[in-house]
């Protein structure tokens, strides 16, 4: 792997950019690995990277049924923030945001992390009261958040229609929040994981498992059987199917969340804005497209597409808030299959199957969690005990009753 730098660009210019080495290797699978990770999305790749780079576990494979980063990690709207309500979530997502702050350096790959602020507006007096409580809770967690009045909101979003159908009463902002480039995060982790010796094997769907005495012996894949000491499922919306192969049932439901972009325009909107009540959020990508989304399609789905009425609700809300966008044409609409836990918080760690670990429940908000999810799951797998930040996010919370009800606490926000 060659180091990316201004110098390497210059050097490669002399040979017409024909001699760049490939970013990651494309190996044939070995028969056995210490750790086999299923799913080369952000979470699977990051877990492999932190295992190989920081936990001393080098003999690692990541198996991907399609191409790496083609699942939700390449389909999301890239919002990164740590303004969660509960202290457990705050601590975990803040760790992730801090890792994002250095991720470009860490991976020697430009992930285009842009801390342009995440602005949440509220459209009723009641919401304003809840937001005050929320913004204060965030500060109590030691994380930045500031209440804004209408005038201050206009400074961040000059084109906003403050007197829309449900007039804006105020809002709050996490200035350190923002966005980054999703593909770059997947590619950056893949490149460094590969450089650290991880085998990333694409076009290698896992179709079955050989188990004995509540242990997994090996995985059946499109490229033959692969055995391992420890296994991790990082397969987002398909976690229930993969867990089922090991005889494990989970509190997960899969639904489709849609994302959409407009045609590209000149820079016009330099923050991330969301409204939970009228249910939309929007930002502008570095290519000029306005990236927007809203509610999920609220029925079980494994189709990577959703319904037109969900899009219409989102567009109606968006043009009400930002009338200046009303004449833009939508260019693309897509969906990803999201793994929802009942409390809309992740489930990361050990399972009743002795050598199986899961990273799921990321639902509609696990992109921002990729660095911390990978870091903490790698620690958990290497030491066979939950990382401190993951303790609250174990599977047993569903029987102990210690749910982390972020769904109720923070509404739409991704």
């Amino acid at each position: 792997m060659s180091h990316y730098s201004a110098l390497s660009i210059l050097r490669n210019a002399f040979s017409g950019h024909r001699n760049w080495t490939r970013a990651w290797q494309d190996p044939e699978p070995k028969k056995h690995y210490d750790v086999v990770i299923v799913g080369a999305g952000g979470h699977g790749l990051a877990t492999a990277y932190y295992l190989a780079r920081y936990q001393g576990v080098k003999n690692v494979a990541v198996l991907e049924k399609d191409y790496l980063g083609g699942g939700n990690s390449g389909r999301n709207t890239q919002v990164c923030r740590s303004n969660y309500f509960y202290p457990q979530s705050g601590a975990f997502y803040e760790h992730s945001l801090q890792l994002f702050e250095d991720l470009g350096q860490e991976l020697n790959f430009n992930v285009m992390f842009s801390q342009r602020g995440v602005l949440s507006v509220c459209n009723s007096m009641h919401e304003l009261e809840i937001y005050r409580r929320w913004a204060n809770a965030i500060r109590m967690n030691g994380i930045d958040s500031e209440m804004l009045d209408r005038g201050e909101i206009r400074k961040y979003a000059p084109h906003i229609n403050l007197d829309c159908r449900f007039p804006i009463r105020g809002g709050f902002i996490q200035k350190r929040g923002g966005m980054s480039r999703h593909d770059a995060v997947a590619w950056g982790y893949a490149r460094q994981a590969s450089a650290a010796g991880v085998d990333i094997i694409q076009q290698c769907e896992v179709t079955g498992m050989v188990t004995s005495d509540s242990r997994i012996e090996s995985l059946q894949t499109r490229k033959g059987d692969i055995s391992g000491d420890r296994f991790a499922l990082c397969v987002a919306g398909h976690t229930s199917q993969l867990a089922d192969m090991a005889g494990l049932r989970l509190p997960i439901t899969s639904i489709a969340l849609q994302g959409m972009v407009t045609e590209p325009v000149q820079p016009i909107f330099d923050t991330v804005m969301m409204s939970a009540q009228i249910h939309t959020y929007v930002s502008q990508s570095d290519r000029g497209e306005l990236v927007t989304g809203g509610g999920a399609d609220l029925y079980n789905s494994y189709a990577q597409r959703g319904s037109l009425d969900t899009q219409q609700h989102n567009f109606a809300a968006l043009v009400e808030l930002m009338p200046i966008f009303s004449r833009l044409r939508m260019m693309r609409v897509w969906a990803g299959v999201c793994d929802m836990a009942y409390d809309v918080s992740p489930i990361v760690g050990k399972t009743p199957v002795e050598n199986l670990y899961i990273s799921t429940g990321w639902g509609t908000g696990g992109y921002k969690a990729i660095p911390a999810g990978g870091d903490c799951l790698a620690y958990t797998m290497a030491n066979d005990r939950p990382h401190e930040l993951l303790r609250p996010f174990q599977l047993d919370r569903f029987s102990s009753g210690r749910l982390i009800d972020e769904g109720a606490a923070s509404g739409v926000a991704h």
Binding site: S254, Y299, N300, Y302, S307, F398, G401
Partner: protein, 89 residues
């Protein structure tokens, strides 16, 4: 947009309805004897079927009745619907 056949009103657009989840969950008969794990199983654990799915819908902006739908979670094709308690039809 799904077109959902309400067994009472006929085919209507999906946005008249609300989704109610898997229809197989049965309220336990002996709630005071249930362990925490059994409660968790009833409240939170789901089959999350990929393929043909038995599910509940309610016609919120119509007759307000709950009913069963059989729908494919991969293709979204609706195979049929029936009143609660009826075996088929």
């Amino acid at each position: 947009m799904l077109r959902i056949p309400c067994p009472y009103c006929g085919i209507r657009d999906q946005d008249e309805f609300r989704f109610g989840g898997e229809s197989r969950a049965r309220r336990p008969e002996n709630p005071d004897q249930l362990s925490d794990e059994e409660w968790a199983e009833y409240l939170f654990y789901r089959d999350n079927v990929k393929g043909r799915h038995e599910e509940l819908w309610v016609h919120s902006y119509g007759c307000r009745q709950w009913f069963n739908v059989t729908r494919d979670t991969c293709t979204h094709e609706i195979v049929g619907s029936r009143r609660i308690g009826s075996v088929n039809g």
